[in-house]
Symmetry: C2
Subunit: 236 residues, 2 copies
DNA sequence: ACAATTTTTTGATCTTTATCAAAAAAGCCT
DNA sequence: AGGCTTTTTTGATAAAGATCAAAAAATTGT
């Protein structure tokens, strides 16, 4: 079986690009694909899973855009991340066999469902897969610690610049324009993620616009001065 | 071989209590112990590893207390966590085969070194161990997201209360007093972890003292009103 | 396409936390 | 033990970001 065929099957069209199996042999990808992945659409605004749901599967974002957020008892919520094609949802649920955050689609999306018990079995058979997965988990830890740095030590303008630079980098890694960003989330979502109020986010975007760093038209944002943004983040 | 013997060997004295192998059979613990763990003292103020160091091993804290921190290009640092007996150091390094934070002993400590390549091999042989480890990694993700909530949505007094409540809980899980805390870190370390300045931490401790929540004598802190603290955190 | 809702922008003001400064306390070294 | 360094406390002031408010713009449902 060659890969022109695989491309048309279930998740075959995307699974090769996903973080999860990157670095596997063709045979391994095939196995993963045949045995486990199940394509599933999620409409804009729908939850893929909610806090407290039993943990059955990981989800690889095939196309679309998600946000994850955790809830505090008193009703406050904190957006913990935004996920795009190729990124994995549900890693935090392995810990206690329950989801501990909500995952909501910010646009019509498609995910690859990967039943975790079967995935674990396969990991026992395929050393390569297991090693990849350890790294995937560890990479998420590193990402989270980066957010801790952002929230704990950066000023508001630095946080927003870091956010935009990060988004641009991820779009660019997916062969999309890294200067023309179409934000899928509200100012409030951005604010929650960055530990700021939506008004502050709005004001900062206006300021960046006035300073010639960005062209802001609602959720369409064009990066006009990437160096300037990077300088704000402190990566001089 | 019975376990009275095991207790005297290398890491045997502590490894059974560690998060890493919890839930393993005696035989499995024995294997882990014999093949992999290597006890190593770390003096107060010394680094167990530094950012950029090649990743060889994970470390389980046997006794003592550590802090981990990441560095920003411009010299700022962010304390990302404090680790005590039974907790694992180095999980973030799996991602890129390099340590991405510094781990410093805050008191004379002993760690169990676990060479990661051997650990991975063993994980392939012992399904149980591998599953445990996946959970350990996931639990760290959940912990980090809790810190994101703290930094992104809580006010200074809530952050400090959450910090103290968390410390108390962890001490208590180790059969130490949960009301008499001896802090191993400076006010500056606490501030960095909580995204506050050391003066703010000091002022808050004084205020909690005045309000009868705590008795503060330098780094000796007694929790006088645990309910009050919990109420501040929002766990009413 | 239009009314209703949600999101975004902007202004005025207030609150929280940071900054600067200096003294007091604690810890460390020999 | 005593001098030296580091840490902690506390006060006065400043700055960053939050809050409140209202209009403008964008999105959604029918």
């Amino acid at each position: 079986m060659d890969f022109s065929e695989l491309k048309s099957v279930c998740c075959g069209c995307t699974i090769r690009e996903l973080c999860l199996p990157a670095g596997l042999t063709d045979q391994e990808v095939l196995l993963l694909d045949q045995h486990m992945s199940h394509r599933q659409p999620v409409k804009k605004g729908e939850s893929l899973y909610r806090t407290g749901d039993a943990f059955k599967s990981l989800y690889a974002v095939s196309t679309g855009f998600f946000k994850t957020s955790i809830l505090h008892e008193d009703g406050r919520t904190q957006v913990t991340g935004f996920q795009m094609a190729g990124e994995i949802l549900g890693l935090d649920a392995i810990s206690a066999d329950r989801h501990v955050c909500d995952a909501v689609a910010l646009e019509d999306s498609v995910v690859c469902e990967v039943p975790f018990d079967r995935f674990e079995e396969l990991g026992q058979l395929m050393t390569n897969l297991q090693r990849r997965f350890n790294r995937t988990l560890s990479r998420e830890i590193v990402r989270d610690q980066g957010v801790m740095l952002l929230l704990g030590s950066m000023r508001s303008e630095e946080r927003l610049a870091a956010f935009l630079v990060n988004l641009a980098k991820r779009f660019s890694a997916r062969k999309q324009s890294s200067s023309e960003l179409v934000l899928r989330m509200t100012r409030e979502d951005i604010g929650s993620y960055l530990g700021l109020k939506l008004e502050t986010v709005s004001r900062l975007l206006s300021r960046f616009h006035d300073e010639g760093l960005l062209a802001v038209r609602g959720r369409n944002i064009q990066i006009l001065n990437a160096d300037g943004l990077n300088r704000l983040v402190g990566v001089a």
